[in-house]
């Protein structure tokens, strides 16, 4: 989907690791846009390339082992492919904020949280120590930390996981970035705190008008927060659609597998949860095959020999699957999909 002027636009991003000869293709021509003020969810299981995509965009992959090719990585008017290390540093933290998966270890243990929030603003906006501390106080209040003045002087180990994740969010938002990347922001937290954090991210997106890329493997989180979803498998985006379209009309074998493996409604309480057989391929799929063929319940003979092209199902819904009518038809009866129709 192409909007008038997306915050982030990525075309044909490929990343491979390792020495020549034994290269591991981590990303295979990934393309997506994030519109202004939109939450895009990148969904897929561990190792499918969600995090690598974001690391490549931020230029955080080690240059020695990672080879990055792309038609376009555009942040606003800035071409991130050609950005100098210095320019990239000003992008990180200032124009793109990042929240990491594990709030327990993502804060430096030896500095107070107030210092760490202030550090970002002092580095990027040249604020004085005093001004930065004052802003840090506002930010702690913004991320709804109770009694922020006291928390300013707290060390990370004195805060709970949910509080630390709020501090991480405060750091990510310190310079009012146009794009927030949240890399599985709630996996390390328990369920009630998860909901609060997701609500906070959604609220802040509205208040600050920023775009969000939400990396997750939790379809429940996707359903409640995201505007659009890109499903990734083995380094490729296999299906991309607005949330409602995706859940109403899932069209890729892998999306179907993900939806089927969700806990169902009351009728299915006694049954074992459905699973996707097998594992994520250790090495990239052959270039001319669908990467999911071997595990796919809907595989056709052609899937192993021809790579299905990206096809536009509706204006905003694209999918790379030969058997998508069968997929959509088979899932029409699952409670999860019925809930969306």
């Amino acid at each position: 989907m192409i909007t008038a002027s997306p915050t982030l636009s990525v075309r044909d991003l490929s990343v491979s690791f390792g020495a020549t000869g034994a290269r591991l293709q981590a990303l295979d021509r990934v393309s997506f846009d994030v519109a202004r003020g939109e939450i895009l969810a990148l969904v897929g299981e561990s190792g499918c390339g969600k995090s690598v995509t974001m690391m490549a965009i931020l230029g955080l992959l080690p240059e020695r082992v990672a080879r990055i090719e792309a038609q376009r990585i555009q942040l606003g008017e800035l071409d991130l492919r050609k950005a100098t290390p210095k320019a990239l540093r000003t992008v990180r933290g200032r124009r793109i904020g990042m929240i990491f998966q594990d709030p327990m270890t993502s804060l430096t243990p030896v500095h107070t949280v107030g210092f760490q929030i202030a550090e970002v603003m002092r580095a990027h906006q040249g604020l004085s120590r005093r001004a930065a501390q004052a802003r840090a106080l506002e930010l702690l209040d913004l991320v709804r930390i109770p009694d922020p003045r006291r928390r300013l002087d707290a060390y990370p180990h004195e805060l709970s996981g949910g509080m630390r994740q709020r501090v991480m969010i405060a750091i990510a938002l310190a310079c009012a970035p146009e794009l927030l990347i949240a890399d599985e922001p709630t996996t390390a937290l328990d369920v009630t705190v998860q909901a609060q954090i997701m609500e906070l991210i959604a609220d802040l997106r509205r208040e600050m008008g920023m775009s969000v890329v939400l990396i997750t493997h939790d379809l429940g989180v996707v359903a409640t927060t995201a505007d659009r979803v890109a499903v990734m498998y083995a380094g490729r985006i296999v299906e991309e659609a607005p949330v409602a379209d995706l859940f109403r009309n899932p069209s890729h074998g892998y999306t179907a597998g993900l939806i089927r493996s969700l806990p169902g409604g009351e009728t299915e309480r006694q049954t074992r949860l459905a699973e996707i057989p097998g594992n994520v391929p250790r090495f990239a799929a052959p270039p001319n095959a669908c990467a999911f063929t071997e595990r796919c319940a809907f595989a056709l003979p052609g899937c192993a020999t021809t790579r299905p092209p990206d096809e536009q199902i509706s204006q905003a819904h694209r999918c790379a699957c030969f058997n998508r009518e069968a997929v959509a038809a088979a899932l029409r009866d699952t409670p999860f999909v019925r809930a969306w129709v």
Binding site: R92, A123, A154
Partner: protein
């Protein structure tokens, strides 16, 4: 832009005291730590004011050789009739000077080289091979050789003990930095645009310091022993510098007549080394914010 906070936090909420000060204050409340600190203060006092607490450590009095303790000589006299108490008190100076200097002088280059070795691939490999080569030489042998090469004196002893101590510090710092560098908070700092030097000084160095401080106190303790050993062997110490190792070396020959001649400096040495080690452990606990007992 970011919205204004709905309600400003109450202004009368007191800021807490600085964490490090608070941690040190709580360490002081432990009786063992307090005892060690008092003992160390005693050693320091004696080292600075040895001339006032005790008499002349160098005055030779052949008529008063190997006398038992008396009002004039509280710990008796040695084989030249010198005041053992005065010599032991003056000997504190050298032990403390060597311990403190070696700890500091091995920590500064050790931390710098260690961080360099961990952050630079090629340079690091080169530095570590040199360090490996240095560690292959026995420390005492290297110290004896260095002490023999240079002019006798306190500086020589400090240099001779510091140089074999540096490789240990480098290895420790490098290992710690390598693990700190992999921590998510370092990635997080890079992802929020932190520059190289800031990254090292603000995120990597402070997280490296606790083990460095402990290693520094161990280095001080082992340097005090090494200095005594060098003096015992008669390397590097000028005869007019009273020190515990030299006293023990002299006392060795008169051990059967007066074993206490060896016991006085030996006990002082043991106590000083012990309290240095204990205080090192306590200090590393106090400096680690995760181990402090404060609650908010």
């Amino acid at each position: 832009m970011i919205a204004e906070p709905a309600a400003p936090p109450p202004a009368n909420c007191p800021r807490r005291r600085h964490a490090t000060m608070e941690a040190l204050a709580s360490a002081l409340r432990e009786p063992w730590t307090l005892l060690c600190l008092l003992l160390l203060a005693g050693f320091l006092f004696v080292a600075f004011f040895a001339g006032m607490v005790a008499g002349d450590p160098l005055a030779i009095n052949p008529a008063q050789r190997l006398k038992p303790p008396s009002a004039q000589f509280p710990w008796g006299t040695d084989h030249l009739g010198r005041d053992v108490f005065a010599r032991a008190m003056h000997g504190t100076r050298m032990s403390l000077a060597v311990g403190a200097s070696v700890a500091l002088l091995s920590a500064i280059p050790g931390v710098a080289i260690g961080i360099f070795a961990a952050m630079s691939r090629l340079g690091g490999a080169l530095v570590m091979r040199i360090i490996d080569a240095m560690m292959a030489i026995p420390a005492v042998l290297l110290a004896v050789a260095l002490a023999a090469l240079l002019q006798p004196g306190l500086t020589t002893i400090i240099i001779a003990i510091t140089i074999p101590e540096i490789p240990r510090m480098v290895r420790l710092v490098r290992a710690v930095v390598l693990s700190v560098r992999q921590q998510p908070y370092v990635d997080a700092a890079i992802a929020s645009g932190t520059r190289g030097p800031t990254l090292v000084f603000r995120h990597i160095l402070p997280n490296t310091l606790a083990p460095v401080i402990v290693q520094g106190t161990y280095a001080a303790a082992s340097a005090i022993i090494a200095a005594a050993l060098l003096s015992f062997l008669g390397v590097g110490t000028p005869p007019d510098l009273p020190n515990w190792g030299g006293m023990m070396a002299d006392a060795r020959r008169y051990f059967q007549q007066d074993p206490m001649l060896m016991a006085y400096p030996g006990m002082l040495l043991s106590v000083l080394v012990l309290i240095t080690n204990i205080l090192g452990d306590r200090l590393s606990d106090a400096l680690d914010p995760r181990k402090s007992t404060r609650k908010i």
